[in-house]
């Protein structure tokens, strides 16, 4: 390998679940809910129970967001255009578990109402568009992602071990929401979905490349387009839904991988969705080379975001070196004109790496060109409805342009979603 063509990813995490450091604060963050405008049903200083409704979507009042823990609302910050920035809850010391009650849901209508009322609707993401589905939408199929999208993510089989019954209950709940098939996408091995009914089918994908992404599963099993819509959901959310059905408990616990080159002991830890990363990684980071500052990413190294809170849909915390700051004072003179930082993406040179990085039946160079100029019509004809940001992460890193195609795709998808 040539120098510069290699990157340190750190050791692979130890695939055994440990208890994470206790967290004092959790948050629901707006970065997970793009485009959502909340109507708040609680105030700063309110005491909230686990599972209590905190706010709902203005556009769809049926879609509610519940508190993952019992505690006190510490702060509510709103972002631009009355979107949510973060709603922080400080945990109360005495977490009393409610008595388990089995929920009586057997029909599709009851199941839909139960998931909506208990705040599990946002676990689903539609494809096309990658957004929370409308309360009355019916998908053609549901994809359960029981794969790890990169070697540093938790192994789903480890996380689901000894909880197969709860998981199966969750799968049967999903089958009530669609008239089509529930595809349970997993890596090779025993079929997790065996014996759950004929509409719940296991599908197997060899590990490596983009085979762990929901987009790849959907492309292979039930390609979507303008008139066909499916939903995807993560396996830990299915587990939570199973628990809700069986015990009535709002379980927002997550098993996440703590990994990256700066992680002292890469391993799986059990924590809560939205946990404060500052609390969680205390004592977990090693000093960087040459005193480089630490950058905490929620999500994988390839498309994670620098964050203070664990993302709703994330299963990884990645600790990496932060980029050194180029805070040089503005230069004057002739040479300064050449040293100006580039504000535009560099040219797209069609190399073979681009074709390898996108595992879809899409002509990649014309597609990236359409995205770069914001041509929504061409991008849609070439298949952008099949993709969400995570599918383009590898292409963005392989392309000479240095452009974030995920962000460009989101721009185009938002435009298409408004038109449709």
């Amino acid at each position: 390998m040539l120098p510069g063509f290699r990157i340190e990813h750190g050791r692979l995490p130890d695939q055994a679940v440990h208890d994470g450091a206790p967290v004092e604060r959790v948050a629901l963050v707006g970065a997970d809910l793009p485009g959502l405008r909340p109507r708040l049903l609680c105030e700063q200083g309110d005491r909230v129970r686990q599972g209590q409704v905190l706010f709902h979507d203005r556009a769809h009042p049926e879609i509610v967001f519940v508190s993952p823990v019992s505690g006190v609302v510490k702060s509510i910050t709103l972002g631009p255009r009355r979107s949510l920035s973060a709603l922080v809850i400080r945990l109360e010391a005495d977490q009393q578990e409610p008595d388990p009650v089995s929920m009586a849901v057997s029909t599709a209508v009851e199941m839909r109402a139960a998931l909506l009322a208990n705040g599990f609707w946002p676990a689903f993401l539609t494809r096309p568009f990658g957004r929370i589905p409308a309360p009355d939408a019916v998908p053609d199929a549901i994809f359960v992602t029981v794969t790890a999208d990169n070697p540093h993510a938790p192994d789903p089989r480890v996380v689901l071990k000894e909880q197969e019954d709860v998981f199966a209950a969750g799968l049967r709940a999903l089958a009530l929401l669609t008239n089509g098939v529930v595809h349970v996408c997993q890596t090779q091995g025993a079929d997790i979905a065996a014996g759950c009914g004929d509409r719940i089918r296991g599908a197997f994908f060899a590990p490596g490349g983009a085979s762990g992404l929901a987009g790849t599963h959907i492309h292979n099993l039930h390609p979507v387009g303008p008139g066909r819509s499916v939903w995807s959901i993560g396996y830990q959310d299915v587990l939570s839904i199973g628990k809700l059905i069986e015990t009535g408990v709002h379980d927002f616990s997550r098993v996440v991988a703590l990994a990256g080159p700066r992680a002292r002991q890469p391993r799986l830890i059990r924590t809560i969705a939205g946990a404060s990363l500052q609390d969680l990684i205390r004592g977990e980071a090693v000093p960087g080379n040459h005193g480089a500052p630490l950058c905490v990413l929620s999500g994988p190294a390839m498309n994670g975001r620098p964050a203070s809170w664990l993302g709703r849909y994330h299963q990884q915390i990645t600790l990496v070196d932060d980029a050194p700051k180029h805070g040089k004072a503005s230069e004057q003179g002739l040479m300064a004109r050449f040293r100006r930082a580039s504000v535009q993406p560099a040219p797209l040179i069609p190399t073979a790496a681009l074709e390898r990085a996108l595992a879809f039946d899409i002509p990649v160079v014309p597609f990236l060109r359409a995205l770069s100029v914001g041509d929504a019509e061409t991008a849609s004809r070439l298949g952008c409805l099949e993709l969400v940001e995570e599918d383009l992460a590898a292409v963005s890193l392989a392309c000479t342009s240095g452009a974030d195609y995920g962000r460009m795709l989101r721009h185009v998808l938002d435009e298409l979603a408004e038109d449709s």
Binding site: G225, R337, R340, A353, I362, R381, L397, T400, G402
Partner: protein
């Protein structure tokens, strides 16, 4: 304005090609053929190379300064390719004129390498042949063809040259060589065309950019080379490769358009 660039932590993860690395790889690949051409043609060739390099770099500097971009050395590859194609007998002012045309109208007016529609070196060589009567291009010798090989391997391994283009164009040329002179013709075809095929026809920016389109592009370029070839026998005139690569580049967007339409039709059947 929205910032479309990758975040800093993602930028640090980029391990593939950047424009600077592409330029560097092409310069490395070009070093051997350029060196061999210098050794073969003597001091006159040094003057040619220096003139071409100086002209290209001056234009690059001027455009970077006006546009406020960071300095890149992309045009040095144009100068090197052009210098290998030009015989030492050509007056230096003609070389400067042709290099200026190629680098400005082949690349820089479009925004630099990666944005243009034809290869800058091909534009320069085409300008030289068209504008100054009696000027020919220097035929590629066996040594230059041999020196092209390691660079071609480097570019192929790095994915900077499409093997689909190279294979299809070589198949067409070999077939025509076989038809004319049998086995001895094949060798003559390959020696006289190797440099031009790797550095002009297979330029990733000027060629088609879809996988199927690359096959069609290669076949088209090969047929055009055979059509334009003025030399008797199976040897190929360098000007034929230059003009074939220019014309094929102009057809590349049309080829891509057709391939994209086919893909869209296939997708519509599958995705509803």
């Amino acid at each position: 304005m929205t910032n479309w660039l990758l975040d800093s932590h993602l930028k640090r993860q980029r391990t593939g090609w950047t424009p600077a690395r592409v330029t560097l790889a092409q310069l490395v690949a070009l070093a051997a053929p350029a060196g061999v051409s210098l050794a073969e043609r003597g001091t006159a060739q040094i003057a040619v190379l220096m003139t071409a390099l100086a002209t290209c770099l001056v234009w690059e500097l001027a455009f970077d300064l006006v546009r406020g971009r960071s300095l890149s050395l992309h045009t040095a590859t144009v100068a090197l390719i052009f210098a290998v194609l030009v015989p030492p007998a050509v007056p230096l002012w003609q070389i400067a004129m042709a290099a200026s045309f190629g680098v400005v109208f082949g690349e820089l007016v479009f925004g630099g390498r990666g944005y243009g529609i034809v290869s800058g070196a091909a534009a320069a060589a085409g300008f030289l042949v068209f504008s100054f009567s009696g000027t020919g291009l220097s035929a590629s010798s066996e040594a230059v063809a041999l020196a092209t090989l390691p660079g071609a391997v480097l570019l192929l391994l790095g994915g900077l040259v499409s093997w689909r283009v190279l294979v299809s164009v070589v198949v067409v040329l070999v077939a025509s060589g076989l038809a004319q002179e049998g086995m001895s013709g094949v060798l003559a075809v390959l020696t006289t065309s190797a440099f031009g095929l790797v550095f002009l026809v297979a330029d990733p920016v000027a060629g088609a950019s879809t996988q199927l389109g690359r096959w069609v592009f290669g076949i088209l370029a090969g047929l055009l080379i055979v059509l334009f070839d003025t030399l008797a026998g199976s040897a190929i005139a360098p000007a034929a490769i230059v003009f074939a690569s220019l014309l094929a580049s102009i057809f590349a967007p049309l080829i891509d358009y057709a391939v994209v339409e086919l893909t869209v039709r296939r997708r519509r059947a599958r995705h509803g």
